[in-house]
Symmetry: C2
Subunit: 889 residues, 2 copies
C-alpha cells in the first residue's frame, strides 16, 4: 500500500489563465467557495448551492496530453470539489472579457439585447452559453457566415437550459444567444440596442458586437500543459486517485478506509446538490482515473457503460449510436435514451454527474432517478466490485437489495440489445416534470419495453416490461401485475382499459408525496400513450403508416404517435419563437429608446459587485439563523451540537443580546414593528430565534441547522393556522387606513347597472416566496467610535437604517447603510431584508467584529416567505365589456 | 528523545479576556503581527518594528500557579514571539477601556491633558504607564489618598521612558501620568480641560476622571488559570520548551538541531529589534523554562545570574541588594549596576530582554552592549554548556574567543564581590547616549574598578581595571595600557594627564563609526571624572568629605563628585518640572478654551482607525519598494532571490507597468512632477525603482531588501552630490516665482541704517527625515468598473488623487482617495506620501487585487527623507534691537 501511494504533487490549476497552487486544502472545499473567498473572480454567484440555478456555472477545461486536446465543459462550481480539478483550467465570465481587456461579444450582445437586469444570473448564463459556443465551434461543421458561430439556434437556446433568471423572462437572453446562430431568421430576434428601424439585414448583422469563430478563445493556458497532473500528495491531501481496479481495491482495503476513517467515493460530486452534506469525510477517493470505469463499450449484444461515465458523455455516445443503423432496436434504444437523458438536470450538471453515481444514489438513498427507471425498463445488468470479488447482478436485483455498503463499488452497467427476428421490440420512455427542460425532478418517469407481433386482428403482446420511478417510491419498480395481465393478450380498447385501471393500483406514491393523484394519473397516461396506437390496428394500417411490417415501420408508429406530445422536442425546433413589435415614439426622447442598461456588460462579465462580492475582512464572522420549527411555543433553550462549540462557532445571538437602550425590532412595516428575534415565545414556524455566528458561513449554516431548540408548549395556546381561526379569535393584523380595501363606486347602483354579478366570491392567498436569485444578505463592518457600515441587499436602505439604529439604540449618524446592486428583489428585499441586516449589525456590534450573513436558499425560503395567509371575500358587478361597476370587499 | 518530547498542548492565550487557541502557527510570528492581522485589537501600532518607539507596547501577564500570583509587565509586541506567550494574558489599550464599556481613567486623563495629538503613540504610552501603575499599586506601600495611585511622580514620569511621541513634546503626557501620583504638587501640572481658573486643590482633584487603586483591573482572566500551560505539541509547533539542563542538552543533540535543521535559542527575542531577521528557523528552543537559567543566587562571594534572567529582574534584584549593607562593595556594585542598567533600552524591552541574550549578542555579533562592558569591568565569569560538558571562563576570555557556536549555551554569569580590608575597592560606570533615558545605544560606555589606598600625599592606586565598550569596537575591551601605567602610582594631576593621553590611544573607534572624536573625548572625560577627585587629596579631606577612611566615605567622594553630572538622575528627582501660565481671554470664546480634542480618549484606547488599522481584504497583496543604492546609474535588471518567487511574491511593478494613457508620475510639487519610478536611469540613492508585491508585508519587505538590482554606470555622468557641483553644472530645480527669495526693504538703505552687518554668510541644509510615528502607508481596494478606493495617510489627499488618476490614466471619478487619521505628518505626509499611495494604486490596478503598503521604518528613512541639499548665502543688516533692516539672499 505504502509503496503504491507514491508521493504525489501539489494541487495546481488555473483560473482565467492565472496559476494557483494550493499546498493544502480542506477536501470538501468546492470550486465556488474557493473562487469567491480566495480569488478576485466573483462572477460565479452562490444562488442555490444545489446545482439548481446555474448562477455559479463556470467553464472547466481538461487537457489530454496524449491526444493533445482540450476538453471544455460547463459545471456547477457550487458542487465541484476543488481537489477534483488538479491540472484543470477554469474560466469564469471575467476571464472571457472584462472592463479592462474589453468584453466578449457574449457580454456585449447580452447587454445590447437587454438580457441582464439584476444581473445576478448573467455570468452563469454567459458561461453556460460560452461552453456550448466553444464546443460547437470545435466541431467539424462547415464554417458559418462571418459574425456567426457553428451553433444552431436550437442549440443556442438549449445552451442555457437550467440557468434560472427571474427578471427577464428568458426571451432577451435566448435572443442574445441566438444572435450567434447563423440559421436564425433575424426578424425573429427581439428588441435590442444595436439596431435602428429600417436597418437592412446586413446592416443589422454588422452592428452586432463582432464574433469570430476562427479566433479561438484559449481556455487552457500553455504553462499548465507541462505541469504534472498526477495524483495529489497523499500526505497533504486526503484525496486519492486510484488508476486501476487493483489500485482502488488496495485503497479500499487499506488504512484509508479502515479503523473508522470515513471516506467518500466521488466522481462529479453533483449528488451533494440533492443530499446536503453535514458529515465531514476523512478521505476522498476519486474514481475518475480508473480507466475501466470511464469507458463505454458497444457490441452487437449491447452497451457496457463504465460507472464514472458522465451523463453528458453517455448522451453523446448514444447520439452517435442512433445515427448508425446497426440493428434497429439498438438504434431505437440509443435514440430514446439520449432524448430522455437530455432532460435530466441541466447541461452543467450532466457534464460532471456520472451514470454510476446516479444509479448508486437511486439504490442507496432512493434518489428519484430517471436513469434508474430507464435501465430497469431495459433489463440492465450491473457489475460490482465487492470484498469477495466481482459480482454481476441485474439492476432490478440490485435495486431490491439493502443500500450498498460504501466499500462496494459499482463498476459498470450493461444494456442488452435484445434481438428476436420473429417479433418487434419496442421501447419508449416518459417523464413529466415542473419544467420540461432544466433541472426538475420528474413527477413520475417510466420506461416501457414490449415485444409485439402483428396478427390479423391487431397486435399481440408477446412480452411487456413496464418500469416506473420517481413518483414517490423507494426506487424504480416494475408494474409486474400489469405486465402479467397484458402478456399474451391481443391489444384492444378493453384490454387497454383494464391495464390502465391496474396502473392506478400499481403506481401509488408513498405517504407524504406531493400531488399523489396527479402522479398516478400521469402514469396512466404514459401507458395509454404507449399502447393506444396498437388498439386500432386497422386505422393505423389504413393510414399508410404500416408499409410492411418491419422494424422501422413499427418505430414509425411510435414516433408519429408522439410527435404531438412528449417527443415534440425531438425535431430540434426552437423552444419558442415569436416576433416583437413595439411602436416607439420620439415624443419623449430618449425615453422609449432601446438603450443598453448602464453596466449591463459589466454585469455579464461578472464584475458588478453585489453584497456578497464585497471582499470580506480578516476576522470576519458569518451568521446563520436558527428559526422555529414550531408555530407557537415557548423557547426554553438552544443547544448546539457539542463539537460545534469548538468548530468555529463564536456566539449565538438572541434577543437577550440587544443592548440596553436598543429595542427588539427587526423590521418596520405598515403594521406593528416586527421583532428581530422571538423572545421567550416563538410566534410562527420560521420565526427567528437566534443567529449563530461562526468563522465560516459553512460552519454557521451547519451549526444553525443542527441546533436543537428546546420548546415548551405547555400553557401555550394552539397556534392559529387559518384565516377562519384568526377571525374567530379576533387575531388581526393592524392595517393602516390607507391600505383598507375600498369600494368601487356606489355599490347598490353599480350592482343594478351590472350585466353580470358575482354576489360572493373568495380569493385565498397562501405564503409566497419571492425567489430572488441572490438570497438575503448583509455585511456589517464596525468602525471606530461605535460606528458601523452595513452593506445590505435591500430595496429600502432608509428603512433598514431606521431599524438598525433603533435595534442597537445608537445615534442615527453612527450607522451607514449602503445598498449597491440588489441581485433580484421583486418586493422580497424590502421588509424581509431588514431583519437580516439588523441581525448582522447586532452581531457585529456585540462581537465588535465584521459579520456577514448570506442566508442559504433553504433557510431563505423558510424564513422570508410571506407568512400571512390572506382571504378576501368580495362581491362584484361588471358590464359585458368587462368594466367593473361595483366592487365590495 | 522521542519519549522525552511528550505531546504537548495547543497554543492558548488570552487577549483582553478573550481566549485564543491557535492549532498551528509560523513560530516567527510576533504578537504584534498576530494582534494586528488576526484580531480586532489594533491599538498596538507598528512604529519601528525594533522595540525602539513603544507604539506597540502591550501588557503581558503571566500566572504562577504555585504562588497563585499574576506577574504583569509591558513588552514591545513587535519583538515578542507569539509562541512564547502560551498561557499568558495580553492586555491592550482597548482592553483597559473603550467607547462601549467606558474609558479607563488613563485614557480620559490623557485626553483631558491634551496628551494625544496624532494619537498614534498614545495606546503604547497608556500601556507603558498602565504597567507601571498596576505594579506600583500591587506593592505594599501605604494606600494613597483617594483618586491617586501608589506611584510616585518620578516613577510616573519614567514609566513612559522609551515611548516616543513627536507631537506633544512629552510634557502633556508626563503631566497626565503624574496626575496619578500623590506626591506631586498639583500646581506643577500643566494645562488640562478639567479645571477652571480658581478651582481649589480639592476641586481640582475631584474633577479628574476617577481612579481607584483599590479596584484592581483584572489582567489575567480566571479561565486561563485552569488551562494547561505545559509545553506546546511539538508535532504542530516547532517550538520547544526544555525544563531542565538535561532536557536542553538532549534537545541540542537531537534531530531538532541536527541534519542541517536551523534552530534558534530564544528568551525575549528582543535582539531581533537590532539584528533584523531574514533567515527562517526550522525550530525554536525557548530557554525560559530551564530553572537553572532563570535564577539569581547571591552569597558573600558575589552574584550568580542565570542567563535567561531579564534585565528588569536583575535590576530589581540589585535594587533590593543595594538596600542591604552586607559589605559595602557589594552594595556599591549593586547600586551602580542597577542605576546604569535602568538606562539600557526601555522598560518594555528590559522586561523581556535577558542578560544572557545581551551578552551573547555582544560576544557573537559585536552588539554595543552596556552589560558586556559593566561585566568586563567587574571581572565577571561565565558558565557555558558545550557538547563536552560545562566550561567556566572569564567574561573577558569569552569575549576574545571566536563567535559562539549556536549549540553552546550560556548558562550563567557571576560577578565576584572582591573584598580586601586593607584597601578600598571602587567601582563606577559611565554612559553617554543621544538620549539620557529610553532606548538609545551609548556613544561609549565604561566600567571602572579600582583599589586605592590613602597615603599621606594622596591616593595610591593598587589596582585599576578600565573597561570601555560600544564606541565602535568589536567588543568591550580593557584599556590595559592605561591600567599598567596607573597601577602602583600615586595619583596627581600629572599622572592623570598622562593617563588621559593614553585614553585617546586606547579608545579608537573603528573606521566607519559615526562621531569618532566625540566618542574618544567622552572616554577621556569618564577617566577624568573617575580619577580627578583623587588627585587633590588635600582639598577633598579639608572639604570635610573624608571623615575617617572607611568604605562609605570613599564612596561618598565618588557620589558627590558626580551628582552634578552623570549621576544626576539618582536622586529620583523629576526629569523636568515647570509651571505653565497662559493668559486666556474670553474675547474669542470658545477659542482659547482648554477643550478635549474630539476623539482623544478613543485614540488613547486605540480605537481610532489609522490607515493600517483598516481591516485588510482577503486576497490582499502587500508592497515594498526597491530603491536605488546608487546615485546615478542605469538599471539593467532586477533579480529576486530565487526562492522568493515561490515565497509569496506576486509581482514586481516598475514604470513599465504604468498603463497606456497613464504617466510615470508619483508626486506633484511646486517644481516638475516627480516620476513614480526611475525609468532606465536612477537619479539618486533612494530613488524608487520598483515595488515588490507579495502575499504578506513581511514577504514583500524581505524580497525587496534582498533584491539585486543590476546597475550600469558606464556612459553615465558622475552624480552631483553637492550644491557647488550643481551650480557648476547648472543643474537647478525649478522653483515657482512665488517661492523666490525676497529682499527685505531697500538693501543699500537698510545696510546703511544697520547697527550690525553680516556681509556674506551661508546656511546649509542637508536632507531631513520627518519622523512621523506612522510611516508612509496606503491601501488600494479595486472596485467594479476600473474604480478604486485608495486610503492614504496623506496630508494632501486632493493632490494624491490628481497624481493617482494621472498615473493610471483613468477618469478622476474612478478613484476615491480617503484620508482619515494621519499618524503624524509634520509635512512629511504631503508630497512624500503621494508616491506610496500611487504605487499602491498602480499595483492594485495592474493586479486587480487589493494592495497595501506599509513602508518599514528603514525604507521610509531612506526613501522619504528630503533629498535636496540646500545652501543659502545671504547678507543681512540689523539694528541692535534685532530688527532686520536689510536682507539679501
Amino acid at each position: 500500500m505504502e509503496e503504491r501511494q507514491k508521493k504525489g504533487g501539489s494541487l495546481v490549476f488555473a483560473v482565467n489563465g492565472e496559476r494557483f497552487e494550493l499546498p493544502c486544502i480542506d477536501p470538501s472545499t468546492t470550486l465556488l467557495q474557493f473562487l469567491r473567498s480566495q480569488t478576485c473572480f466573483k462572477s460565479p454567484k452562490l444562488g442555490c448551492g444545489e446545482g439548481g440555478c446555474g448562477a455559479c456555472v463556470v467553464l472547466v477545461s481538461k487537457y489530454d496530453p496524449k491526444l493533445k486536446k482540450v476538453e471544455d465543459f460547463s459545471v456547477s462550481s457550487c458542487l465541484t470539489l476543488l481537489c477534483s480539478l488538479n491540472g484543470f483550467s477554469i474560466t469564469t465570465s471575467e476571464g472571457l472579457g472584462n472592463t479592462r481587456d474589453g468584453f466578449h461579444s457574449i457580454h456585449e450582445r447580452f447587454a445590447g439585447f437587454h438580457a441582464s437586469q439584476c444581473g445576478f444570473c448573467t455570468p452563469g448564463m454567459c458561461m453556460s452559453f460560452f461552453s456550448a459556443l466553444v464546443n460547437a465551434d470545435k466541431g467539424n461543421k462547415p464554417n458559418p457566415p462571418p459574425g456567426f458561430s457553428k451553433l444552431t439556434s436550437s442549440e443556442a437556446e438549449k445552451a442555457i437550459e437550467g440557468n434560472l433568471c427571474r427578471c427577464t423572462g428568458y426571451r432577451p437572453i435566448a435572443d442574445a444567444c441566438k444572435t450567434f446562430a447563423a440559421d436564425i431568421d433575424i426578424e425573429d430576434w427581439g428588441f435590442n440596442a444595436f439596431w435602428k428601424n429600417g436597418d437592412s439585414k446586413e446592416m443589422k448583422v454588422s452592428k452586432l458586437p463582432p464574433y469570430d469563430t476562427t479566433k479561438n478563445f484559449n481556455t487552457y493556458p500553455e504553462f499548465l500543459k507541462s505541469e504534472s497532473t498526477t495524483n495529489l500528495d497523499s500526505s497533504r491531501y486526503p484525496w486519492y486517485t486510484p488508476v486501476s481496479i487493483e489500485d482502488l481495491q488496495g485503497l479500499l482495503n487499506s488504512n484509508v478506509t479502515e479503523n473508522g476513517a470515513s471516506f467518500k467515493l466521488v466522481v462529479g460530486n453533483t449528488g451533494t446538490g440533492y443530499y446536503k452534506e453535514t458529515q465531514r469525510y476523512d478521505h476522498y477517493i476519486d474514481l475518475r482515473y480508473v480507466p475501466e470505469l470511464s469507458i463505454i463499450k458497444r457490441d452487437q449484444a449491447g452497451i457496457d457503460i463504465g460507472s464514472t461515465v458522465t451523463i453528458y458523455k453517455l448522451i453523446s455516445f448514444l447520439k452517435e449510436e442512433s445515427k448508425i443503423n446497426f440493428g434497429s432496436y439498438g438504434k431505437l434504444v440509443s435514440d430514446k435514451l439520449a432524448y430522455h437523458m437530455e432532460k435530466i438536470a441541466s447541461p452543467f450538471v450532466r457534464n460532471s454527474a456520472s451514470v454510476g453515481g446516479n444509479l448508486v444514489m437511486a439504490q442507496k438513498n432512493g434518489f428519484p432517478s430517471d436513469i434508474a427507471t430507464l435501465f430497469l425498463g431495459l433489463c440492465a445488468t450491473v457489475s460490482l466490485m465487492t470484498r469477495h470479488g466481482l459480482v454481476k447482478l441485474t439492476w432490478e436485483e440490485l435495486l431490491s437489495k439493502p443500500p450498498l455498503d460504501s466499500r462496494i463499488v459499482l463498476l459498470s452497467v450493461s444494456i442488452p440489445f435484445k434481438k428476436d427476428r420473429n417479433s418487434k421490440l419496442l421501447f419508449e420512455t416518459y417523464r413529466a416534470a415542473p419544467r420540461s427542460h432544466g433541472n426538475a425532478l420528474a413527477y413520475v418517469n417510466a420506461a416501457f419495453q414490449a415485444d409485439v407481433s402483428l396478427c390479423q386482428n391487431g397486435f399481440l403482446i408477446n412480452y411487456i416490461r413496464l418500469a416506473f420511478g420517481a413518483y414517490g417510491t423507494k426506487h424504480a419498480t416494475r408494474a409486474k401485475m400489469i405486465e402479467g395481465y397484458l402478456t399474451g393478450k391481443m391489444l384492444n380498447i378493453h384490454v387497454l382499459y383494464g391495464a390502465l385501471k391496474l396502473v392506478k393500483l400499481a403506481v401509488v406514491p408513498e405517504d407524504g408525496t406531493l400531488h399523489p393523484e396527479y402522479r398516478s394519473s400521469l402514469a396512466v397516461s404514459y401507458v395509454f400513450e404507449f399502447l393506444y396506437p396498437f388498439t386500432d390496428a386497422h386505422s393505423a394500417l389504413s393510414g399508410g403508416l404500416f408499409n410492411g411490417i418491419n422494424d422501422i415501420s413499427v418505430e414509425k408508429v411510435f414516433k408519429s404517435s408522439k410527435d404531438g406530445c412528449i417527443s415534440q422536442g425531438r425535431k430540434q425546433t426552437l423552444l419558442y419563437s415569436s416576433k416583437q413589435v413595439v411602436e416607439s415614439s420620439t415624443e419623449y426622447y430618449p425615453v422609449g429608446e432601446p438603450m443598453k442598461k448602464v453596466g449591463a456588460a459589466m454585469q455579464a462579465a461578472g464584475e458588478a459587485v453585489y453584497v456578497d462580492d464585497i471582499p470580506s475582512r480578516p476576522n470576519c464572522l458569518y451568521g446563520a439563523f436558527i428559526y422555529s420549527t414550531k408555530a407557537l411555543a415557548g423557547v426554553k433553550g438552544i443547544q448546539l451540537e457539542s463539537n460545534q462549540l469548538t468548530d468555529g462557532v463564536a456566539a449565538v445571538i438572541t434577543f437577550k443580546d440587544i443592548p440596553i437602550g436598543g429595542a427588539n425590532v427587526g423590521a418596520i412595516r405598515f403594521s406593528d414593528p416586527e421583532p428581530l428575534f422571538a423572545d421567550d415565545l416563538v410566534r410562527y414556524a420560521g420565526d427567528r430565534i437566534a443567529v449563530v455566528v461562526a468563522d465560516s458561513q459553512r460552519s454557521a449554516d451547519v451549526a444553525a441547522r443542527m441546533a436543537l431548540v428546546e420548546y415548551d408548549t405547555a400553557n401555550v395556546d394552539s397556534p392559529i393556522l387559518t384565516v377562519e381561526e384568526a377571525v374567530e379569535k379576533s387575531s388581526f393584523i393592524q392595517i393602516p387606513p390607507f391600505l383598507y380595501p375600498k369600494q368601487v363606486g356606489d355599490f347598490s347602483k353599480g350592482m343594478a347597472e351590472a350585466d353580470h354579478k358575482i354576489l360572493s366570491a373568495e380569493v385565498r392567498l397562501g405564503s409566497e416566496y419571492y425567489f430572488y436569485m441572490e438570497t438575503q444578505t448583509a455585511l456589517a463592518v464596525p468602525d471606530e467610535d461605535n460606528c458601523m457600515v452595513v452593506y445590505t441587499s435591500s430595496q429600502c436602505p432608509e428603512s433598514a437604517h431606521r431599524v438598525i439604529t433603533t435595534c442597537l439604540g445608537v445615534p442615527k449618524h453612527n450607522i451607514r447603510v449602503i445598498t449597491r446592486r440588489v441581485g433580484g428583489g421583486f418586493g422580497g428585499k424590502g421588509v424581509r431584508a431588514m431583519p437580516v441586516s439588523t441581525a448582522c449589525a447586532l452581531a457585529a456590534y456585540k462581537l465588535r467584529r465584521p459579520v456577514r450573513i448570506y442566508v442559504n436558499r433553504n433557510a431563505d425560503m423558510i424564513m422570508t416567505g410571506g407568512r400571512h395567509p390572506m382571504k378576501v371575500t368580495y362581491s362584484v358587478g361588471f358590464k359585458s365589456s368587462g368594466k367593473i361597476t361595483a366592487l365590495h370587499l
